[in-house]
């Protein structure tokens, strides 16, 4: 028996914790995206790596600059800025000039997160804020797509990557339309197997349907992702485009094409499910998902852009506080509405 009592800590219950922390939850998304990143390197070569690194670097640097010195370490340790950079990078066209990507990452973290009060305070998905900024500012560069070069051209770097700021980039690679562009402007479909594997042109991280789903399953198993949101998006987008497809199969894309083309998978699994900017309540998650699914088909089919995922998510982000307010769970032993 000891002679002196130990110094006893006083803490309040519960004394146990589940074990998963917020930085770990963010890290899980990195693990889930690893195959997608590798696929991006495979299809788009070293340029993809440079783009992603510039985005991540820009995001982290912005977070560092705009955070008060005493909380810098914590703000970076939660991994969220780097994740924003990665997600932004995955939505960019492979031949985008690096300086634009850097600017986009700064806007994503600065206007998308920091001015809202940092992690947890922002209304809109930061990566998509960055992308919306880029699309608005550099519409040409953001819609010029390089065809996937494949492993053979791994070391070929598109010259446009290194365009000097404020000079118009010179595109050397064969520019090619994305499956969505082909559909929209030429009513030409792309095979499902091609969409699943990802050897089509498009943003860095959106082309390989299979790997995106794989990562989603991992996140779902880790309980890092609210499955209701992607399922809601798939169901609503699939159903809506099925209805259109049965009206006029020649004009409207099939539901499969809708689901597996463009940024729908990337957005549904990794962007719409960002917990900060999606509803808290389960019913809210269904409404949120369904809203995105409907909007994306509306924009793609009837809007001016071939792709609508970004705007759908941002629009539903804006509706999130409202959705949350009207979908408060029924409290145990009470009726809905509280009494």
């Amino acid at each position: 028996m000891r002679s002196k009592d130990p110094q006893l800590l006083l803490q309040s219950a519960p004394m146990l914790r589940q074990g998963l922390t917020t930085p770990q939850a963010m890290r899980d998304v990195w693990y889930a995206l690893t195959p997608v990143v590798l696929a991006a390197l495979w299809f788009f070569g070293l340029g993809a790596l440079l783009l992603l690194l510039v985005c991540i670097g820009g995001a982290v640097l912005t977070e560092w600059v705009f955070t008060p010195p005493e909380s810098r370490r914590d703000a970076l340790a939660d991994n969220s800025a780097a994740l924003t950079g990665l997600l932004l990078g995955l939505t960019l066209p492979p031949a985008l000039p690096l300086w634009m990507a850097f600017l986009g990452a700064m806007v994503a973290v600065g206007l998308g997160k920091v001015i809202w009060g940092g992690l947890g305070g922002n209304l809109f998905n930061p990566a998509l804020v960055g992308r919306a900024f880029l699309l608005g500012t550099f519409p040409i560069a953001m819609t010029t797509w390089a065809a996937p070069s494949g492993p053979g051209g791994f070391l070929d770097l598109p010259a446009s990557l290194f365009a000097l700021p404020f000079h118009s980039p010179v595109y050397d690679a064969v520019s090619s339309a994305t499956p969505l562009g082909l559909m929209k402007f030429q009513q030409q479909g792309t095979g499902l197997s091609q969409l699943l594997i990802g050897n089509t042109s498009g943003s860095l991280g959106e082309t390989s349907g299979l790997l995106l789903i794989l990562g989603g399953v991992y996140l779902w198993l880790r309980r890092d992702l609210d499955w209701r949101i992607p399922v809601g998006i798939f169901a609503a987008a699939g159903l809506f485009s099925l209805i259109l497809f049965t009206q006029d199969g020649a004009r409207f894309p099939s539901p499969f094409f809708t689901l597996f083309s463009g940024g729908l998978l990337l957005g549904a699994i990794y962007m719409a499910t960002d917990p900060v900017t999606s509803p808290l309540t389960p019913r809210g998650a269904w409404i949120f998902g369904a809203g995105i699914g409907l909007l994306v088909v509306l924009i793609r089919v009837f809007g001016g852009f071939p792709e609508g995922m970004m705007y759908s998510i941002l629009l539903m982000n804006a509706a999130t506080p409202l959705i949350d307010r009207y979908t408060q769970p029924r409290v145990f032993g009470r009726k809905r509405g509280g009494r």
Partner: protein, 443 residues
């Protein structure tokens, strides 16, 4: 009722902490030897503190009445040992404050035999007399809240208890005191059930036991004949299964409406230990002067399940278990999810102390607090379907009235939300502060 309920008897939401019961689940209950001095705080139950009926220096025999109260929501205290009253005055209580208590010095030469007269046979008592007997025996709910048991048994006119529900869930990690009690004293438990069913006029009884105690379920089932109104129900393991309203939901599939009591549904819920205490009073004349306590956790040298006389200082209980390991950082009274850490080892074991747990560095370390990332894990954990994320946000802004609109007063402070939160936000702590403030405001 939800049709699925027939297949899976449980409540919604909740969390799955590790059981951590291996250290003591197979340890038979041992008796802690008598020590020199005992401290019996007068207000160790919910309600009005009892008033002493003894004087300093007075000789006592074990089980003798030392404090009582005329108030209904209060109960009696008895001397845990034969000895003498050394002092009546403020003593350190488990929450760190000083509270009035009777200090009893044990007589080292006494045999400590129980020499109490038996109370009248239970079936000869009217309901009012029965309630008096329970109060006279000092019996409280032994699950942790220490609510005087007789108050639960006084059923208002026009109400009828149909179901007696026995809480053997023991959903708190580490604790095994109810488990061992069911294993080792099943006859006393069933006897207590018979007494209470007879007195309340209940038609059926169900013992809810979590499925991680198959041996206890087996022992009880073997003693229950076919056609008996008593049923043992194995429940999926989930926290907080032992919360009264959750257990009712799990067993009967019914929600007790907010602001109502189980008895409004014709149900009386009792802890396993409470029923054994009732049997001990009517069969042996032993009032509530001791209880089973699980001593466990990584900081305890020899974890054990112990019969501890009430008022025994925690220090003495730990000494019996080989003392604390040097790495101990925190000692908790009760379970790890709802218990409280204590500042001094001199505080006594109380009627509501189900466990004494010692934690080392590893278990006391807390991750840094991050901002709420709105991940919904707390919503999925809350068995009351509250919105803990929103409550914590409002709590930080001290918007207590707004929290009332989100039904903060319905929270049972089970801590499941804080357990689940990846950002380590002290949600239940913020809720407690709000509830305290609101209670003061409405006074």
């Amino acid at each position: 009722m939800n049709p699925l309920h027939l297949f899976r008897r449980s409540f919604s939401h909740g969390v799955h902490p590790q059981g951590l019961k291996e250290q003591t689940a197979d340890r038979p209950i041992q008796r802690v030897p008598f020590v020199e001095r005992y401290v019996m705080p007068l207000g160790q139950h919910i309600g009005v503190p009892a008033a002493p009926v003894v004087k300093v220096g007075q000789r006592l025999v074990r089980g003798e009445l030392i404090a009582e109260s005329a108030a209904f929501v209060s109960t009696c205290l008895h001397s845990p040992v034969t000895g003498r009253v050394r002092d009546i005055g403020p003593h350190r209580y488990i929450d760190g404050s000083f509270k009035q208590a009777i200090e009893v010095e044990a007589d080292p030469y006494a045999t400590q035999q129980l020499e109490q007269r038996l109370p009248p046979a239970w079936d000869s008592l009217s309901p009012e007399q029965f309630i008096q007997e329970i109060q006279r025996a000092g019996i409280v709910g032994l699950g942790g809240a220490a609510f005087p048991a007789h108050v639960k048994y006084s059923i208002p006119k026009g109400q009828q208890i149909r179901d007696l529900l026995i809480n053997g869930a023991e959903c708190e990690p580490f604790l095994t005191n109810d488990h061992r009690l069911m294993m080792e004293r099943p006859d006393a438990l069933l006897r207590g059930i018979t007494i209470l069913m007879g007195q309340l006029g209940a038609e059926r009884a169900a013992i809810g036991v979590e499925a991680n105690k198959p041996d206890a379920i087996e022992v009880l089932r073997r003693r229950i004949d076919d056609g008996s109104p008593v049923e043992v129900v194995a429940l999926p393991v989930k926290y907080p299964q032992g919360a009264e309203k959750m257990l009712i939901k799990a067993i009967y599939g019914r929600e007790v409406p907010a602001g109502q009591l189980p008895r409004d549904l014709g149900i009386a819920v009792n802890n396993v230990g409470t029923l054994v205490a009732i049997a001990d009073w009517f069969d042996r004349g032993m009032p509530l002067i001791e209880r089973v306590v699980t001593v466990s956790g990584p900081g305890v040298t020899y974890p054990a399940n112990l019969i501890v006389p009430l008022g025994t200082p925690v220090r003495e209980v730990l000494r019996f278990c080989g003392g604390l390991r040097d790495e101990t950082r925190e000692v908790v009274m009760g379970g790890p999810m709802m218990g409280a850490s204590i500042a001094s080892l001199d505080v006594p074991v109380l009627k509501g102390s189900s466990g004494i747990l010692a934690f080392t560095e590893h278990a006391t370390w807390r991750p840094k607090e991050y901002p709420c990332i709105r991940c919904s894990r707390c919503l999925e954990a809350c068995p009351y379907f509250l919105n803990p994320s929103r409550l914590a946000r409002l709590g930080k802004a001290r918007l207590f009235q707004e929290m009332r609109q989100f039904q903060v007063m319905d929270c049972v402070e089970c801590g499941a939300c804080t357990f689940a939160c990846p950002s380590n936000i002290p949600i239940v702590q913020l809720i407690r502060t709000a509830k305290d403030n609101l209670r003061h405001l409405s006074r």
